[in-house]
């Protein structure tokens, strides 16, 4: 066998010790021109609440569907003074949250936290924290499909027209079908909302339990869809209304249980199968809230 000098030795691999700050990267990974482009899209999105602004989404070092849109928005908003919190399904310790948090630790050396009140920037997948958001916080959603009309109208040229002319009749057809099939509105997540009495918007796959938290929130809410290359936003103190029928009003459903860890009765719960007999446990999906309540 021929010998080469290119044999990779195991000891050449760097051992990843808690991911130290890597100064080879530009601050928060993206180059400054890209951040500028994304910030422009964000500003436009804030000016037209609920309107989807196209942007030149970049290839990120993670697969589509893992929050590439949210990560780009976060990277563009991040400053050295920020404290970052990342949650995935309400939890700070799940794969998506941990990997994105490590990504920003490594590329920007900023402070991170698990405590909602202490964070200045929060990136989320599928939840809004139970602790109310406050002024000067930026809240970034990861969005898989930004177009709420996509399931009704596959043509993008047509959905753009429907948005621009406020032709939203078809949106209620979906809710109508829900009621006629199930007796109530079955849609439980990504429940469509009307923002600032104008644009119908997909709130990303948060449970409809969280929809009321978007309304009149003091925080800035930004939505990034990486694969679909869209950014949209809700500026602070903006009206966000969930669609419904007069005789079937919007109902922010949650499981009829209290949290088995902290006892909270008014938080969103995860249902967990705990043994082979099919016994269930209900616990808060917001780990930060649950821990704080338990320790009180």
């Amino acid at each position: 066998m021929r010998k080469t000098n290119n044999v990779i030795k195991i000891k050449d691999f760097k051992v990843d010790k808690g991911l130290p700050f890597d100064q080879e990267y530009n601050f928060a990974y993206l180059d400054e021109n890209t951040k500028k482009m994304i910030r422009r899209a964000i500003i436009k999105a804030l000016c037209i609440p609920g309107y989807q602004v196209p942007f030149a989404s970049r290839e990120m070092p993670m697969p589509y569907g893992w929050g590439t849109g949210g990560v780009q928005v976060t990277a563009s908003c991040l400053t050295k003074r920020d404290t970052l919190k990342i949650i995935d399904q309400g939890a700070d310790d799940t794969t998506n949250a941990v990997s994105i948090r490590n990504f920003f630790k490594k590329t920007s050396n900023i402070k991170t936290t698990e405590i909602t009140e202490k964070a200045t920037l929060i990136q989320t997948r599928h939840r809004i924290p139970e602790t109310p958001l406050k002024k000067k916080q930026i809240f970034v959603y990861q969005v898989p499909i930004p177009e709420p009309l996509a399931f009704l109208e596959p043509k993008v040229s047509e959905t753009i027209k429907m948005h621009s002319l406020s032709e939203y009749g078809a949106m209620h057809v979906k809710l109508y079908e829900d009621i006629s099939k199930n007796g109530h509105i079955e849609t439980a997540y990504a429940y469509p909302v009307k923002t600032n009495d104008r644009y119908i918007m997909d709130p990303s796959p948060i449970p409809k339990f969280d929809n009321p938290k978007m309304n009149n929130s003091p925080a800035i809410q930004l939505f990034g869809a990486g694969r679909e290359q869209r950014i949209y936003a809700i500026p602070p103190y903006t009206k966000v209304k969930s669609l419904d029928f007069e005789d079937y009003p919007f109902d922010p459903f949650k499981a009829e249980h209290a949290c088995d860890i902290c006892g909270s009765k008014n938080t969103y719960l995860d249902e967990i199968i705990v043994d082979d007999a099919g016994n269930k446990s209900f616990i808060c999906s917001d780990t930060d809230f649950c821990n704080k309540r338990k320790n009180k």
Partner: protein
């Protein structure tokens, strides 16, 4: 004096060098049913598509006069135009699958137009949909069934219900009985005729079937090569055709 509901002046539309329709002028009065006949390629569909807003004509004027308001159809903004189409016009396609959402239940299909003009009460939408299912003779127990489970004739009746529910001012029908077998055709025609009488509808109906025109239309126009060659009361035109082509058309109807 009665003001025409629709007045068309010198309407022309061509596709590159091919003439779709040329210098069409006509008017339609409230409660009238106008038949458009002609052979394939004579410009019937081009004309009806221009009038209903599906196509942009090259030249001419289309004036609607609905709800005491004049609408210059070709000179309004796109949003006004789409709103007008939504509230004042209806289009029954030859193939009901073009006019229905096949993955949405019958009730949802009928209710969609109501929701698009602002109905937000499920119970009301549902009861209106049920009422219209009755009107078009579809059993109301089928309200939650998908259109794909319906027969051809039922689909066409469903499409008619979907279009009429918001009481549009002008209804366009493009060969509404085209793809149906004869007995089903008769039933759909019978339904259209009774709805026209009952609700005093204003209809423009395109067909190459003279029997359909004789049964439904008060007035008719005959088209050939994109132009109107003969027009008048349908009985008159069919009994005493003046143009050679119309004579040929009338004489070529099969009598069984």
């Amino acid at each position: 004096m009665i003001i025409p509901l629709l007045k068309v002046t010198n309407l022309s539309k061509s596709y590159d060098n091919i003439v779709g329709c040329k210098n069409i002028s006509m008017s339609l009065y409230p409660g009238e049913v106008l038949g458009i006949v002609g052979e394939s390629g004579s410009g019937k569909t081009t004309l009806i598509n221009c009038l209903s807003g599906n196509l942009e004509p090259d030249r001419g004027k289309i004036i609607f006069n609905t709800n005491n308001k004049e609408t210059d159809f070709l000179n309004i903004s796109e949003s006004e135009k789409r709103k007008f189409i939504r509230t004042d016009l209806a289009f029954v396609h030859q193939n009901p699958r073009d006019g229905l959402r096949l993955n949405v239940s019958a009730g949802g299909n009928i209710g969609e137009k109501l929701m698009s003009v602002g109905y937000r009460h499920y119970g009301n939408i549902r009861s209106l949909a049920t009422k219209w299912m009755n009107k078009v003779e579809i059993d109301k127990s089928r309200i939650d069934d998908l259109p794909i489970t319906f027969s051809g004739g039922m689909l066409q009746r469903l499409q008619i219900a979907k279009n009429l529910i918001t009481s549009p001012n002008v209804i366009f029908m493009d060969e509404p009985t085209g793809g149906l077998d004869v007995s089903v055709q008769a039933r759909v025609l019978d339904l259209i005729r009774s709805l026209v009488n009952e609700l005093n509808l204003t209809v423009i109906i395109v067909s190459h079937d003279l029997a359909v025109i004789r049964l439904l239309a008060d007035k008719m126009i005959v088209m050939k090569n994109g132009t109107v060659i003969e027009s008048g009361l349908s009985d008159q035109v069919l009994e005493d055709p003046q143009q050679e082509y119309t004579q040929l058309l009338v004489s070529s109807v099969l009598h069984v």
